[in-house]
């Protein structure tokens, strides 16, 4: 009887690894975010280039203190599309009409980040094409956005304050 048991155990010992190898299993999560809360967009800071020199381009990086910044409050964990309406020039509000300054936005000129109001470590994206962002989890269901840019004043640019409007739009996907 003892020998029979040992023999059976030996057979099992050979057979079990074979069964394990003949089968594979894995799991994936299925996930959905139920959205019931609207959004509110707040401008935290304008994009400011400060004083610029004629004939010299000036760039403000999106992580810089002069970058434009918004805070968007919305549904926790929800996904949202982020798009911009970007100006191509700034207008001198102190000079005669027609006095403008080109402004451009590079492929990495915008950033977004969930929950945390710090551009260091945020996700870069091209403001011209937009991105899909995500709101933070409770208790901080916010989405932060930053934008930089480059102005290129002509050598003949007139002195004065040049302004333009950058519009950011968000919608739940």
């Amino acid at each position: 009887m003892r020998r029979a048991t040992r023999a059976f155990a030996a057979v099992l010992g050979l057979a079990l690894p074979g069964r394990v190898l003949a089968q594979g299993t894995a799991a994936i999560p299925a996930e959905a975010v139920v959205v019931t809360v609207g959004m509110a967009v707040t401008t935290l800071r304008d994009l400011g280039f400060g004083s610029v020199v004629t004939g010299v381009s000036t760039t403000v990086q999106p992580v810089a203190a002069g970058a434009g910044a918004w805070q968007v409050s919305g549904n926790p964990n929800a996904f949202a599309s982020i798009t911009f309406t970007l100006p191509t020039e700034l207008t001198n509000i102190q000079a005669l009409p027609g006095s403008t300054m080109p402004i451009a936005f590079g492929a990495g000129a915008a950033l977004w980040r969930r929950a945390t109001n710090d551009p260091a470590g945020a996700t870069p994206f091209d403001p011209a094409t937009g991105a899909t962002g995500r709101f933070g989890p409770p208790p901080n269901p916010n989405l932060y956005i930053w934008v930089g840019g480059t102005v290129s004043p002509a050598v003949t640019a007139k002195p004065g304050i040049y302004q333009g409007t950058i519009v950011v739009s968000l919608s739940y996907l």
Partner: protein
């Protein structure tokens, strides 16, 4: 006593002699054959992602949706037929709240681009064949059915796939 012992010894020698003679004249060979197959490895490569859903508005993700469809990657014995089966949740959960998930769809293909993919019903499973390089890719889609008063939250559940030779 001594005679008995001698007799016994003689009998033993005779017996061994006969046995030895039989072993030499009655021999045969058989071939033991075992085919070693590559172990099946299944990886959950991508979650089934519904993204945002709104109360009272059903949302479907197709199995052909390479971005949001759930995907499993299988490797194993080249060109081997396999059986694929699933454990499919009926609801997604967010804490104590639940939301139905139904209308599962599936596609399997021998490439990650889903070229030449074959549709199947995950409820009944499938019997595909691993590619010549031993690969199989399986996508799963489904429909989330939020109630009109569905509570806010992130709802999740696990989809389990099992593959056997």
């Amino acid at each position: 006593m001594r005679n008995v012992s001698k007799l016994t010894l003689a009998a033993l020698v005779l017996a061994f002699g006969v046995t030895t003679l039989q072993a030499q004249t009655n021999s045969a060979n058989i071939t033991a054959t075992a085919t070693v197959q590559t172990p099946i490895n299944v990886v959950g490569a991508q979650q089934l992602n519904f993204g945002n859903v709104f109360p009272g508005v059903n949302k479907s993700v197709a199995a052909t949706d390479l971005t949001n469809g759930g995907r499993f990657d299988v490797t194993g014995q080249a060109s081997a037929p396999v059986s694929v089966s699933f454990t499919l949740p009926a609801t997604l959960a967010s804490g104590a709240n639940t939301m139905p998930i139904d209308t599962y769809t599936g596609v399997h293909a021998d490439n990650a681009a889903q070229t030449g993919g074959v549709a199947f019903n995950p409820v009944s499973g499938a019997s595909p064949t691993l590619s010549a390089s031993g690969e199989l890719f399986v996508w799963v889609g489904a429909r989330a059915v939020p109630a009109t008063n569905q509570a806010q939250g992130v709802y999740t559940a696990s989809i389990i796939m099992t593959v056997v030779y």
